[in-house]
């Protein structure tokens, strides 16, 4: 089943400057999809279109459709869409509007019209899911950057959406914080079947988790498909090759220079294991 379907979608905040240009793509339900591409490629706008903020909040002119969970966004409203799509903005701190952690989660649930007893239960569950149990009474201002982000994720998860959209979630985190974040997203994706759509510059972080890459440039889809397909295209067609993860620069260079075929590495260990095996074979061959 398709969680997000974008059909021939074009959009301009102000006519005629198109930020999205005839976009067509599918995101399968339960997939972990990453939006890649240089700044200004239209990644944020696409996220906003999936959440319905384009066009409900920003206006502008558009053609084509975005369908989320079977509903065409223009036929729905943002509060209704908020039950299907949870959005974490790049400036997630501004998304947090209450004084304490539990109030933040409760705020989302109140917006859904949930009863007080259910709110208490659901707040507990949500905080556990994002690893903030024990911080219920903590002041939002006292949290670290990573914790604030987990709270922002929790605050949108509380509405029980089927799709989670995150815009450059790791830009203010350190490497450990980024790894923890993607572990959390990976777990939400695997365990809850949550569809994840994330904008990220650091492709290395995505490799262990993402099953679909969408490469955008100047408002157009350059290529969508498996990470291997998209990364190989970036390499062969030299589209932002500097954005390729070092691991894949190694893999693709070796394949090009030696003619051997290597697996689609998702982490360093897979690369090391395969290279060791290949090198051992070579050594035996010449022994």
């Amino acid at each position: 089943m398709s969680a997000i379907t974008v059909q021939n979608f074009s959009y301009a905040y102000q006519h005629p400057h198109k930020v999205l240009d005839h976009i067509t793509l599918h995101v399968e339900s339960g997939s972990f999809t990453a939006l890649l591409g240089p700044s200004g490629a239209g990644k944020t706008s696409l996220c906003l279109a999936v959440a319905g903020a384009i066009p409900h909040y920003f206006g502008g002119s558009l053609s084509g459709t975005v369908t989320v969970g079977g509903t065409v966004t223009t036929d729905s409203s943002m509060p209704e869409l908020a039950c299907t799509v949870g959005s974490v903005l790049q400036d997630y701190e501004i998304q947090l509007v209450t004084m304490t952690v539990e109030e933040e989660i409760a705020f989302s649930l109140e917006n859904q019209g949930m009863s007080e007893a259910d709110i208490a239960r659901c707040t507990r569950e949500t905080l556990a899911a994002v690893g903030l149990t024990g911080y219920e009474k903590a002041e939002v201002a006292s949290l670290s950057g990573g914790q604030k982000q987990r709270l922002a994720i929790g605050s949108v998860l509380a509405a029980n959406p089927s799709v989670l959209v995150l815009d450059e979630p790791s830009s203010a985190l350190d490497p450990e914080g980024t790894a923890t974040l993607y572990q959390l997203l990976g777990a939400l994706n695997k365990q809850r079947g949550l569809t994840i759509l994330v904008v990220e510059h650091n492709i290395t972080q995505l490799l262990p988790y993402a099953d679909q890459f969408i490469l955008l440039d100047q408002g157009k889809v350059v290529q969508a498909g498996s990470p291997e397909t998209v990364l190989t295209t970036m390499w062969t067609k030299s589209i932002t090759p500097e954005a390729l993860p070092p691991l894949w620069q190694l893999k693709l260079s070796l394949e090009a220079q030696t003619g051997c075929k290597l697996a689609a590495w998702r982490n360093e260990q897979e690369a090391i294991d395969e290279l060791m095996a290949v090198l051992a074979k070579e050594a035996r061959h010449y022994a």
């Binding site: 943002m78 908020a82 509007v97 109140e110 019209g113 949930m114 605050s155």
Partner: protein, 224 residues
């Protein structure tokens, strides 16, 4: 203790105390009003930071009294003015320290018929004061590294201050836009407010408190 009352009751308390502070003229009565409010704060076990705020309020009141005295030479007037100001401002400390911002906003919306957006703006503004102060500090530091100094005559200082003010205003504007967007994205415009209302509904305790406040107003009007 004040946490047990509905936000509306506390809003009314704020209104009444403001009224009383204006009506009361005797130093003893104003002193009692202040003492009573301080007792309420103690009984409500508010956090230590609240008392810090009150300390600076008292300092400001003393300053006000000093200026008043210097200008008019009337000791009674100076002290009364300072007491009035303290009594009036203290009640806001009680309100803000013992009420969840979100509850206050809901009470304003559902009971005082303040439009949803305005009420939320008020509470969100309070929530973002610390952020705003941090931002202003960060901008001052950034400009200090470019040679910004606050020196010279007031006019010079004022013009120099543009280097701080402009980024601050731009940032505040862009942040408030982002905040509005994020609220929409979280379903804030949803008008099904059932769970909101149950928590701010008035109980017998609240009605009793309102009656006591009304009675006191009548008392002050007639006898003070």
């Amino acid at each position: 203790m004040m946490q047990k009352f509905a936000p509306l009751t506390k809003l009314l308390l704020t209104l009444f105390i403001t009224l009383w502070s204006i009506m009361l003229q005797s130093m003893t009565a104003l002193g009692l009003l202040i003492a009573g409010q301080l007792l309420l704060l103690v009984a409500s076990q508010v956090r230590a930071t609240v008392y810090k705020g009150i300390a600076s309020l008292l300092l400001f009141a003393a300053l006000l009294a000093g200026i008043q005295l210097a200008l008019s030479g009337d000791t009674t007037l100076a002290i009364t003015t300072a007491l009035k100001m303290t009594a009036m401002t203290l009640v806001f400390f009680i309100l803000l320290a013992t009420t969840r911002m979100q509850d206050l906003s809901i009470a304003l919306v559902s009971q005082c018929r303040v439009p949803h957006e305005y009420a939320f703006m008020l509470t969100a503004a309070l929530r973002f004061i610390p952020d705003f102060l941090n931002e202003s500090k960060a901008i001052q530091e950034a400009q200090a590294c470019r040679g910004y100094r606050s020196q010279g005559n007031p006019l010079k200082r004022l013009t120099a201050y543009a280097a701080i003010l402009k980024p601050l205003v731009l940032k505040a504007v862009s942040r408030s836009e982002t905040m509005a967007l994020s609220l929409e994205l979280r379903g804030f415009a949803n008008r099904r407010m059932s769970s909101f209302r149950s928590r701010v509904v008035l109980t017998a305790r609240d009605y009793a408190a309102v009656m006591v406040m009304t009675g006191l107003s009548v008392f002050i009007l007639n006898f003070c």
